[in-house]
């Protein structure tokens, strides 16, 4: 980094810098608390019984975690099923959107075909068009095909994910090595073979980042499944969590917090292991537009 030269110039008045740093750290700690405290309260309250929660705030976990789980299951609130539904949907969506996005981006990057530039620009525009505005037309169309209460309308659209293609294109620009493609052809590899055996492994870090964001987006998605599904057996986690606000659970505070905890735990666990990759991936996609 060439910032070193600057640092030397500044070091002289380091006392002043220290003085300036102090309020900044204070502010940062304040923001950290703002991010953490609500989640900590959620975690702690998920382990406390309802009377304990009503008696006041505590920052120390209690021992009622299992009891809360039982209360929740006793009320016909099937967290495991919601969990399985959400996992199935999110994994399917992730696989489809990542594979077809990288395939589309690869085609645009490597081959010369008519309308390729128009297609690329078109996809860039699509990124900015919000999908929820057409949800009514989507619902009516799927209802006419008798596909409500089915996962098909929630999974198949993932094949066309413009934002994902956009990211994949940016990423492939930096990692497609044409000589390898020609070498593959000479060795008698088919075009799909080159894509699967040479390009996909090379683009693995980018694919990984795309997969995480696709998974989280699908895991958190509420409106589309909420409109398309009305059988409780098919409910996803966000739809179940939303029920916690209703009358059935009004006084079971411990159980409510427990339900919330289960819904966010997988994301937090994954994030605690892969935070740097996730944060780095976000930065990668954003700046090179």
């Amino acid at each position: 980094m060439s910032t070193n030269t600057k640092m030397k110039m500044i070091d002289r008045n380091s006392f002043q810098v220290n003085l300036r740093r102090f309020p900044i750290y204070l502010f940062l700690i304040l923001l950290t608390l703002m991010c953490i405290v609500p989640l900590w309260l959620l975690l702690v309250n998920a382990t406390r019984s309802t009377p304990e929660i009503q008696s006041g705030i505590s920052l120390i976990p209690s021992t009622n975690l299992l009891a809360n789980f039982k209360t929740l299951s006793g009320r016909n609130f099937s967290l495991p099923r919601g969990f399985a539904n959400s996992s199935f949907l999110s994994i399917s969506v992730t696989v489809l959107s990542v594979y077809f996005s990288i395939l589309t981006a690869y085609a645009i990057e490597v081959y010369d075909f008519a309308l390729k530039d128009i297609l690329q620009r078109f996809i860039y525009v699509l990124v900015l068009i919000p999908q929820q505005v057409s949800i009514i037309g989507f619902y009516q169309y799927m209802a006419s095909l008798h596909l409500t209460n089915s996962y098909i309308p929630l999974i198949l659209p993932a094949i066309a994910a413009p934002a994902s293609v956009f990211f994949a294109k940016q990423y492939l620009e930096t990692c497609v090595v044409r000589d390898l493609i020609y070498a593959g052809r000479i060795d008698g590899c088919g075009e799909f073979g080159i894509f699967h055996k040479i390009m996909m492994p090379m683009a693995a870090p980018g694919i990984f980042t795309m997969a995480i964001f696709a998974f989280v987006a699908s895991w958190n998605n509420f409106l589309t499944p909420f409109i398309m599904l009305n059988k409780v057996e098919l409910y996803t986690l966000p739809m179940l969590v939303q029920l916690l606000r209703g009358d059935t659970y009004r006084t079971e505070y411990g159980a409510i917090y427990f339900g919330m905890l289960v819904s966010i735990l997988p994301v937090i666990v994954v994030y605690s292991f892969l935070a740097n990759k996730i944060v780095g991936g976000l930065a990668l996609g954003a700046v090179k537009e």
Binding site: I57, F113, L128, I136, A143, E191, V216, V241
Partner: protein
């Protein structure tokens, strides 16, 4: 900018490619069609048709009960423009978006300037960045129910305020329109400032340090460098953030829908356009046509605003340069063709 150099470098590689194609692989280009076909088919079926269908539905009186409606022209839009709830939703959506976006941007700009500053050399930047981004990954449904529980009449917020003596008795937070509206804006900021921060940091680290060094030799202070170097260099990143935030903000649904009763209570203070759309859709009559019209209004508004932002904030000098660059390239191509013939 570093990134620019990189893309230019790749451009050069792409230009080199046709040479190989001429060596006998030209026919392989049809594979491009094969590989983009799934995307295009899925887009036509699941992307374009629903939009077209929504446009069509917004001109009909379709309801949930009878699937086929008749064409009624602009009547849905007329009734929408005569509906006070529509104006409320429109006002709320903009108000909540602005009161979320302005502090979010201010905090993110300030933090990213600190984090990338070589004066300050802050410690634990990675840690703070990681923590600040966390709320962005959580289920909006859970976040809404969590804040609902925290500010509930019997919730921790009231417990804290009463115990410490700040309030003499528990406060009905969700009966206060100003509070509820501000809380939605706060939650949006809480969830998104880390995301904006990371994008801005990435933008700032790609600004050449030589610019700052020469400014420092000229005796420019921190603030002057920020306004004269950082902000102008960040322009594309700022536009990107602004547009994506606006597109997302105008569609705000999850938090306002799940924080209270799903109808924008108290007193319609958090009734946003998408909540209105859903309530028309899910009403006992199931006015699909009317709901589609709301969707169309959001789409038109989003498009107009995005184009307006791109137009107003575009870098006029850079655009000119680009055009000239393109012209030059075209002439070069012509020249090359002429020579090769």
């Amino acid at each position: 900018m570093q990134t620019n150099n990189m893309t230019q470098g790749n451009g050069a590689a792409a230009k080199a490619a046709p040479k190989y194609h001429k060596m006998g692989n030209l026919t392989k280009n049809y594979m491009g069609y094969v590989m983009v076909a799934p995307f295009i088919i899925a887009f036509l079926v699941f992307g374009l048709y629903p939009i077209a269908n929504t446009i069509w539905l917004s001109f009909t009186n379709t309801t949930l009960m009878k699937q086929s409606g008749e064409f009624i022209g602009l009547k849905n839009f007329q009734s929408l423009f005569n509906d006070k709830f529509f104006y409320m939703a429109l006002g709320n959506t903009w108000k909540i978006w602005l009161t979320n976006f302005i502090p979010q941007m201010a905090i993110a700009l300030m933090l990213s300037a600190w984090f990338t500053s070589s004066h300050l050399k802050l410690k634990g930047v990675g840690f703070f960045r990681t923590i600040f981004f966390l709320p962005n990954l959580l289920l909006p449904a859970t976040v809404a129910v969590l804040y609902f529980s925290l500010f509930n009449f019997y919730g921790p917020a009231n417990q804290f305020l009463v115990r410490t003596g700040i309030f003499s008795e528990a406060f009905q937070f969700f009966r206060n329109t100003t509070f509820t509206q501000s809380l939605v804006a706060f939650i949006q900021t809480w969830m998104w400032f880390g995301n904006t921060l990371i994008i801005l940091i990435a933008g700032m680290t790609s600004i050449s340090t030589a610019l700052y060094e020469s400014a420092m030799i000229d005796g420019a202070g921190g603030w002057k460098m920020f306004t004269n170097i950082t902000l102008p260099s960040l322009r594309p990143v700022l536009i990107y953030t602004l547009v994506t935030s606006l597109v997302g903000g105008l569609q705000m649904f999850d938090i306002p829908y799940m924080l209270t009763d799903g109808k924008g209570s108290p007193n319609n203070s958090i009734l946003t356009l998408n909540v209105l759309m859903y309530s028309r859709f899910s009403s006992s009559k199931g006015h699909i046509g009317l709901a589609a019209a709301v969707g169309m209004c959001i789409l038109i508004m989003t498009t107009v605003c995005s184009i307006f932002i791109f137009y107003v904030l575009r870098d006029k000098d850079a655009a000119k340069e680009k055009r000239e660059h393109k012209k030059m390239k075209k002439e070069q191509m012509k020249y090359r063709k002429a020579v090769s013939q």
